[in-house]
């Protein structure tokens, strides 16, 4: 059914359909609408879920861990400082091989307090063992949450999944969304290592130097295996519900000389810039990276690449740009734009492409020569 919804409402709607046994969450702008909506579903009897209004994000993730290890489906949502406050526990969730699904509404980090979009929050979590996807429309948000449960819980994966949506830009925008009849798209959860008094075992005990690395490797092996599971899941989603996704969303890339790469809503707005550039005779294309973990295989050789990072690694560079460099070996133009909700328009993006200086870095709105 088609309706108008915000990104946050779309998350809640998808979670309702996936019916987790436990949701544990803590309010934080701009995510709060998700947990408010879920609380309303639960108290209105529309969701047979236990909603735990915990006292901090650290506790939110810890409660999800405790719930998940009993073998029930679990969900939480957070943003920015909330995500970083759970950082210890996000590592734990992945290491404990728990298929928790989390919506993270991307927001900048303080100080000063700033509630607007930035990707540094999630990118600081990229080494935790969570799968990460960045979405760009309300429809894609809804679809990604549904698929996230299936991917996380797949027994070849058993890793948590973080669905990232841009604060306000996507969390609060109202767009059409087509909800689906889920049917058996997400199979019943089966956690092979679920805690069970009939089969006593120690979970996460002291593990020596001759063993620990093996568990770490298992995380990586599942991360690699998840590629196949993601492909299968997205394929079946397309067959059932008619919407096709991939590791990246490529727009007019085939014959392009120059490709703009970005995450989230910037990646979508870049398509408008591409159309403008094409009208000027510039053979431009755009590539929106959706899955950042596992990192996609990118074919970029022989093209000019402009990467827009709404994030930064101080003393190093734009995080996405440098990941692409490391994985593909190409030289690119790295643009830092949109930090803390800084306004970036399609005209600005077209401008980045026109004035690109390959191999260099450019901070939008800052005079770096001063």
């Amino acid at each position: 059914m088609k309706k108008i919804a915000t990104g946050n409402k779309a998350v809640a709607e998808a979670v309702k359909q996936a019916t987790p046994g436990v949701v544990a969450a803590y309010p934080i702008t701009p995510q709060t609408e998700i947990v408010e909506q879920i609380a309303e579903f639960v108290s209105g009897g529309l969701m047979p879920t236990r909603y735990i209004a915990v006292e901090s994000e650290h506790s939110a993730m810890a409660a999800c861990i405790g719930a998940s290890i009993t073998g029930v489906r679990t969900f939480t949502a957070t943003s920015s400082h909330g995500l970083l406050y759970m950082h210890e526990m996000t590592n734990w969730a992945a290491g404990a091989r728990l298929p928790i699904v989390m919506a993270n509404v991307n927001r900048s980090l303080g100080p000063g307090w700033n509630i607007w979009a930035e990707h540094t929050d999630a990118l600081q979590e990229r080494d935790t063992g969570w799968l990460q996807i960045y979405v760009s429309t309300v429809q894609e948000t809804y679809d990604a949450i549904l698929m996230a449960f299936r991917i996380a819980e797949h027994n070849d994966v058993l890793l948590p999944v973080m669905v990232n949506l841009d604060g306000f830009l996507l969390s609060h925008i109202m767009q059409p969304v087509d909800t689906v009849e889920l049917g058996d798209f997400i199979p019943a959860i089966y956690l092979p290592h679920a805690i069970d008094p009939k089969h006593p075992a120690g979970y996460g005990p002291l593990t020596g130097p001759d063993q620990h690395f093996k568990f770490r490797w298992e995380i990586e092996r599942s991360m690699r295996d998840s590629v196949k599971v993601i492909e299968q899941t997205e394929k079946e989603f397309a067959e059932r519900f008619g919407r096709k996704y991939g590791f990246t969303e490529d727009y007019r890339c085939d014959d392009a000389d120059v490709i703009v790469i970005a995450l989230g809503t910037l990646g979508k707005e870049a398509e408008v810039a591409v159309d403008i550039l094409r009208n000027e005779g510039v053979k431009a294309g755009s590539m929106r990276i959706r899955w950042l973990r596992p990192f996609p295989k990118l074919e970029l050789k022989g093209k000019d690449v402009v990467v827009i990072d709404r994030d930064y690694s101080f003393g190093f560079g734009g995080i996405v740009a440098n990941e692409i460099k490391a994985k593909t070996g190409i030289s690119l133009y790295s643009v830092i734009a949109g930090i803390g909700g800084q306004e970036v328009t399609y005209d600005d993006i077209a401008g980045f492409v026109r004035t690109r200086r390959m191999g260099e870095e450019f901070w939008f709105g800052v005079n770096t020569h001063v």
Partner: protein, 175 residues
Amino acid sequence: MFEIRIHSRGGQGGVTAARLLAMAALHDGKYATACPFYGAERRGAPIVSFVRIDDRPIKIYSRIRQPDMVVVLDTSVMDTVDVLHGLKKGGRIIINSAGKREFPGFECRNVDLTGIALRKNLVVAGSPILNTPVIGALAKMGIITADSAKKAIREMFSDERNVNAADAAYKEMSA
């Protein structure tokens, strides 16, 4: 693409109006996005919402810089905000006002939405509700069809007074 900017104060229903407008456009078979621009301010602060309507999917997330139309739900925001900012030449304006205001170079329509809300007894916590009457005015301007406007309002509100208020605005808006 048709771009509309709505000016109101937090709590007056500007965001809901944007939503209703997008819903109605959807019923008209169009694509629409509505996004409020939130500051960190509290209730009562001036706030803008953006609505885009098009025949194709809309990929733009940045703010509207050159609207085709501006809607002012509360004229008091005009003291601190330049509501005409970026409005296209010959662009249209709807103002919630009992009196008649003119803006040279633009097509301005006045409609007393507050009066309509009060007359239809559409008052919540002491404030008149403006979000449904303004949808009637927008239908009169041809931005959405009257049928879709009603359908959208009914989807969101069970109280028929909302539809009546939209009707009244449709009928009363100055030519």
